[in-house]
Symmetry: C2
Subunit: 388 residues, 2 copies
């Protein structure tokens, strides 16, 4: 097991009717004005917008708004927010939404404390040293952005969807009221669920041999998600199911499953999925349901152990050689994705075969990457072909 | 699932040769003098004392010592420490040891900021509002005291072993170097392991129905411990095994497994075990191996569900009625305790049958307690008899 630091400073307020608990915190922290960051209709439909603004009004805290944040959020929206903050009167950022909204808020929070262009943080030209405090309200679980220090943003000018990470980006407080997720479209429940499962798979399939305890925690969490997602499709307003989903959502990518791992996860599939989102606007979770099984099929024969363990731990596959168990596990995972109506081929995402080379180039950018297996640009191309 | 707050502010530095990483933190936090709190020979044997004092000397931080802290630590030792702090020159507490040492350090940290007698916190006469910062070095995993806000201390004058809890008691930083545990006596590895398992069982057996995800995490953690403990008995210096044990040790009782639970665990067995430690100085983990199975046998017939789920999740017991599975699970747990040479009867602890009534009175103190099932004083007496 590798040495590690564990310190997640975010305070989570979890449960029904908990938005109002933000008011005393904002006041005791001396916050006078916040920038509300949110997406579209869903924020109103869930009731989160009304509760957030009511809470702010009752606390006598002024607010300004940046709205219409989309999935796969764009750097221009971040720049809008920063301009708003720099105009004055704002001392905290309040995302009300899912991962895209939180990611946008984080980039605004950091960019507001920097004199250059915020994209510098994404290219490595500048380093984040501070950020405005973030008090968030989650309305869709998937990315764990509510409890981690990561933000993923897309820049169409450079055709790049990429991330920033800094201790300054942890939200100070995140409110997770699972009932805001009652009104999510089924597709979003499915894709968010795939994203949560993928965050776990990126760890347990990275080939790290000193992290059995964490692997076992991960297998249990995947089993939980496989139980919860199908039930939620039928009963989207079941509070306990939404609560389990939201809890798994915060655990999957908050750093917990990276403890003691050499690489803190593989994330090749994420990188390959990001290109599909960047170039075609494909939903993040959908890209993962397509890429992860193809990635797995491409390399399991030479790396059967983590897939075989996954088969035992998640799918009760105990017979056969490691290679046989591995293949059976990959098939079981694909079957599950199909059962919940997630796409498992590029074709289903509406992507044309002739675009595959361009997509592969966008993902590789001439570099090799990957942890379980190093992927050269030609491997990446093959995986996309396999996913077609 | 119940509403909850999750905020664990302790920074964990985990891994080999990590004590030295404390120096820059102490300096940047402006610490000039610390009170080292430790037990006996084990602190030297593990190498932790040498590394701690070398780190302090190299950082130019002065220190004073309170040593000879025993298992089931005593309030008088806490008072000694507080007197030392009040004499001046100390602005942080540094436990170097296991749970008893951390608990003593926490009580010293709180008592040093209070003008009355520290026992007032334990009786409820006073409330902890602040404490000196704690920078700890763990040498024995069991209690999770290194990452929680609880301290358990005994007071022979009132024949009471009881606890305090406060957000002020979280260590600011805890160093967990699993290699300090290479030299632990086998017994301590076993009893610490039982304690870790018991902390998980107190949650998954509390009958809470809205916490399936956490139950599943708990089952996985128990399986990990059941794999690791027997291997460690044979290979006490296996770093990866010690690391998994230490990681499970921090997860079991840091609050993680209480998320969303109505009662945050049952803890009847802990309360009944504390009386055995108070009156006979019995090792905490040993008392739990004795009490938990007796407690389970006493009430499983009317509360078979959580035991049956435990049977499925931990022991692969899938056949029979819930009641049958429950009994089989309890037997399997007892078998495991026996296999690792933990005592499972009061007799093995050297306790005389004629003392049982006095012990039961000490545990009940005229009150009823318990979550899965409310235990009246007469139930408590029966459970001790069953444990004999």
């Amino acid at each position: 097991m590798q040495n590690f630091m564990w310190h997640n400073p975010t305070a989570v307020i979890f449960g029904k009717d908990t938005v109002k608990e933000l008011a005393p915190r904002l006041k005791s922290d001396g916050i006078k004005g916040v920038l509300l960051v949110f997406g579209g209709k869903g924020t109103f439909k869930s009731g989160a917008y009304a509760q957030a603004t009511e809470m702010l009004n009752s606390a006598g805290i002024s607010f300004s708004e940046v709205n219409d944040v989309k999935a796969n959020p764009l750097i221009d929206k971040v720049r809008d927010g920063i301009a708003r903050v720099k105009a004055g009167g704002i001392d905290a950022i309040m995302p009300v939404g899912g991962g895209s909204v939180f990611d946008t808020a984080k980039a605004i929070a950091a960019g507001s404390c920097y004199s250059g262009d915020v994209w510098d943080f994404f290219t490595g030209k500048a380093k984040i040293t501070k950020a405005l405090p973030i008090y968030g309200i989650l309305t869709a679980s998937a990315s764990s952005s509510e409890v981690n220090n990561i933000a993923v943003v897309s820049n169409p000018d450079s055709e790049l969807k990429t991330s920033i990470t800094s201790p300054a980006l942890y939200p100070r407080v995140s409110v997770i009221d699972p009932s805001f997720q009652f009104t999510l479209p089924t597709k979003q429940t499915v894709y968010g669920g795939v994203d949560i499962i993928a965050h776990i798979l990126e760890r347990v399939l990275d080939g790290d041999e000193g992290s059995e305890l964490i692997d076992e925690q991960g297998y249990a969490l995947i089993r939980t998600m496989m139980r919860v997602i199908p039930e939620l499709i039928d009963n989207p307003k079941d509070y306990d199911l939404r609560a389990e989903y939201a809890m798994a959502g915060m655990m999957a990518h908050c750093g917990f499953l990276s403890m003691g791992r050499e690489a803190r996860g593989d994330f090749s599939s994420h990188r390959m999925g990001h290109s599909l989102s960047m170039l075609y606007g494909a939903a993040h979770g959908a890209t993962l349901a397509v890429i992860m099984p193809a990635w797995a099929r491409y390399l399991y024969e030479e790396n059967s152990v983590p897939f075989a363990r996954l088969g035992e731990g998640v799918f009760d596959i105990f017979d056969g050689s490691d290679e046989e168990k591995a293949l059976e596990a990959i098939e079981a995972l694909e079957d599950f994705f199909r059962d919940i109506n997630a796409p498992t081929t590029l074709r289903e995402l509406g992507i044309k075969e002739e675009d595959i080379e361009k997509i592969a180039e966008n993902a590789s950018r001439g570099e090799s990457f990957g942890v379980l297996s190093t992927l050269e640009p030609e491997d990446v191309l093959e995986i996309y072909k396999l996913a077609y």
